[in-house]
């Protein structure tokens, strides 16, 4: 893991002005993306993971603002870069794949045009652009590209549409691709194919990928490193192996427990309660009210980040030397045990 860091997020804070007050969507997160790796950001909806991706792309809605922190990319702070700078970075250097391929494609524009639009605008001639679009469509695995280049989004299936969205994201040959829940809206079988495709493209084009999802199961086969977000903070961060085999934060435990397990008939353990209101984030550990292992101090004071290894960090009082030793739930431990036996099967 000695690759260079190409994207560096430090203490990023993003808030929204809303009717009830200011929503603190992202409350000081830091992580690195290294060349050629995939970092997954995992969390429930509302945890701030999509906001993070939008902040990186500089497409936060007008009522949102970056309150603090930096997003350093190639010597530029994306969090505070002017629009014209962002403009040269979006698409060309960093591509974004959206969650819902149905609504993220313009319904009345031919897909070929949607792929090449940026290219032609930036001076590529039509023929070249068309050839490039065809190539991209082939790359993302769309059969009969010659014919389909002139079709409209509604003539494609969901999986095919997502491939188009990926093709669009790749059109400018970016070096970073952010995938914001790229498979959530798709059938399970299609999901797998898209994930394969992303992996293949990543390898082919030596992309660095930020993969955003709420589904740890999806992450298993994708990510090199995983950030678990809760209530605008990264609560645990580590390599995929560390997160899956030695989870330290109770929230990660809960997430892992809520994954469907095909091997056993264990009941899916839903996480009790609801994420906190981010207009008035709770004092102490935001997860404490839903945390069966919460200590008194969790309600009083924010936990510091404890370093578990070179790559593994977690923010929970449970790791405090003075805290009583608490083990992860029994069922989860059994599951991890099985996973280890299966050889880290994802």
């Amino acid at each position: 893991m000695a690759q260079e860091t190409i994207l560096n997020v430090r203490d990023l804070r993003v808030s929204f002005r809303a009717y009830g007050g200011t929503v603190q969507a992202v409350r000081g997160i830091s992580f690195d993306l290294r060349r050629g790796e995939t970092v997954a950001i995992v969390g429930e909806s509302g945890s701030g993971k999509s906001v993070t991706s939008k902040a990186i792309m500089g497409i936060l809605p007008s009522n949102a603002s970056v309150d603090a922190g930096t997003i350093m990319y190639d010597g530029v702070d994306l969090a505070h870069a002017p629009e014209n700078v962002m403009h040269d970075i979006r698409g060309k250097r960093i591509g974004l794949v959206f969650q819902d391929p149905l609504s993220s494609l313009n319904p009345i524009m031919k897909v070929g045009k949607q792929i090449t639009e940026v290219l032609t605008r930036k001076g590529m001639d039509r023929k070249q652009a068309r050839a490039k679009a065809l190539q991209l469509m082939k790359d993302v695995g769309i059969p009969e590209a010659e014919r389909r280049i002139n079709q409209y989004p509604f003539q494609f299936s969901g999986g095919m549409r997502q491939r188009i969205v990926i093709a669009i994201a790749l059109a400018g040959d970016p070096e970073i691709m952010i995938c914001d829940e790229p498979t959530t809206a798709l059938d399970v079988t299609v999901q797998a194919k898209i994930l394969e495709l992303i992996n293949a493209l990543k390898a082919e084009r030596s992309l660095s990928v930020i993969f955003i999802t709420h589904d740890l199961g999806v992450v298993a086969q994708m990510a090199d490193r995983i950030c678990v977000m809760y209530a605008g903070k990264i609560v645990e961060m580590g390599t995929a192996e560390e997160i899956f085999l030695q989870p330290a934060h109770p929230y990660t435990w809960a997430l892992l427990s809520s994954m469907p397990d095909l091997d056993t008939r264990d009941r899916l353990a839903a996480i009790p309660g609801a994420p906190p209101n981010m207009i008035h984030p709770p004092k102490g550990d935001a997860f404490a009210p839903r945390n069966p292992y919460a200590l008194n101090i969790d309600f009083e004071e924010e936990p510091p980040v404890f370093r578990l290894s070179e790559t593994h960090y977690a923010a929970t009082w449970l790791l405090h030397p003075k805290a009583a030793k608490v083990d992860m739930p029994e069922s989860l431990a059994r599951r991890i045990q099985r996973m280890k036996e299966a050889g880290g099967r994802a």
Binding site: G91, F98, S103, N106, P107, Y152, F154, A171
Partner: protein
Amino acid sequence: MLKYILGRIGAMLLTIFLVMTLSFWIIRLMPMTIFENPEVSPEVQYKLEERMHLHEPKIVQYYYFLEGIILKGDFGTSVKLRPGMDVFDIIMVRIQPTMVLNFFSLLVSIPLGILAGTVAALRRNTWLDHVISFAIVIFISVPSFVFASLLQYCLTFLWPVFPTLYNAQAPNVWQAFRSMILPITALSLGPIATIARYLRGELIETLSSEYMLLARTKGLTQNEATWSHAFRNSMVPIANTIIPMITGIMGGSLVIEKLFSVPGEGGLLVDSIMAGDHFLTVALLIFYSLISLITILVVDISYGIIDPRIRIGGGK
């Protein structure tokens, strides 16, 4: 697509027939006498009525009516407003001012409405948006003839910039057009507001759509994305407002033509109803529904052009 158009034309012909039948019966069942001037002796009245088959049963009159129109293209003869003149000729003579008035109103309202709507949407919640939205409410809720009178009073009387009335014998095109500016303006305000209102709503919605975000993430500027993605998508529902707008303009021109003495079809329709000129009224009703139906057809077809989902997906 061709099949679709042919189907629409077929339906249109059927509608025209129904309109013909309906207007015939509604107009003829209304109790009125064609000649009611006390100075014309009853004998002469009877003779004239006989000539128009008015003493035959209504159903026979209906037969003559259809026979005239379908077989001979004969809509009958005016009896009151232009006695002896062929109804079709009367309509043809007056088509030009009406068309100029309605056409220019459309021509003015669509771009201005789009402009106002776009500005309001892009500058949402600024003073500019508030001013435009306020104007929209006023223009939509106040009928066109009120504006017409107001404009006429202010711009021809208090501050005479424009001629009070339509100038049918202007020495040049500019003079003729100058006399049409006020009626066109009066007719356009409502439609401008209608379009602006719809477009503002649509555009605000599309501006926050996912594909707008995508368009920006792929490197388009906000303006480029607005123009090539948000704008065209917003036009799809706008196409639908064009139909009621055109009928609205035509309805408004009924009164506006009278106010500005524009010698068009609108004033004629009102007069013919007032005077009880049956043949003329019926022919004008057919004329107006034909225009409406043609616009609906054109809008339907252009809808297909704007929105591929209708053209290809519909399959009809």
